[in-house]
Symmetry: C2
Subunit: 143 residues, 2 copies
Amino acid sequence: MAEGPFVRDPAFARGASRLVDLTLCEVWLQSDRRFPWLVLIPRRPGLRELEDLTDGDRAAFTAEIVRAGAAVRAMGAAMGRPVEKLNIGLLGNITPQLHAHVVGRRADDPAWPGPVWGHGEAVAYDETTEAAMRGAALGALNG
Amino acid sequence: MAEGPFVRDPAFARGASRLVDLTLCEVWLQSDRRFPWLVLIPRRPGLRELEDLTDGDRAAFTAEIVRAGAAVRAMGAAMGRPVEKLNIGLLGNITPQLHAHVVGRRADDPAWPGPVWGHGEAVAYDETTEAAMRGAALGALNG
């Protein structure tokens, strides 16, 4: 495990807003109203791959990914667009610091059945909808 | 947890070949020489999402995904194309039965930096290369 403090790649703050800290991860709301979408960043130094986590952190990461899935479902429900399938992705081709995408998908969403990553351009939330999404996600994460 | 026997969606056998069974998952080699790529299918009935696994199975699934990452690295090395980044995806938009993709990526691969899913058409292995890939993956999985 790398030494030193946790440092978040500045790229995460472009295109997402910080929502809450769980035990292991920072949770960020992706600024894209096309999909209910959270990003989890483990607060540990020097991580690139899942294999870089200790066994204990891996279990926490998996548990927090499952919690984020429930939050993404709550976001979809709050938009009147219930999630039909969760998509989980650990890619890092552009931003290599370890992070997990948790995305709610529907057969009528603009990228279905393809992946969301790299699909078209993000569509920003209006303030009211973003606040509703934050509320729905936080309610599920804290519930 | 669902009752009954494990049933694999027949879709997995189109486009992949079975490699080995680990404690929890069947491991399949994706028939696409563009990327070293394994697919893990937990042998439990009725699974669609990560949340459907018990805590114990979740830990086993994560551990087997990490082992598959090492196998994918071994495949890349055997091709003379060392893996630069692992991509892990749990999507299921087309085949909803729970499975994980573990893919080795390089900055010079045909889909970089985008995701592999839905990118162009698979390119079949020739027999010799496929045998080498199976050997490399099995060596890492059994090592």
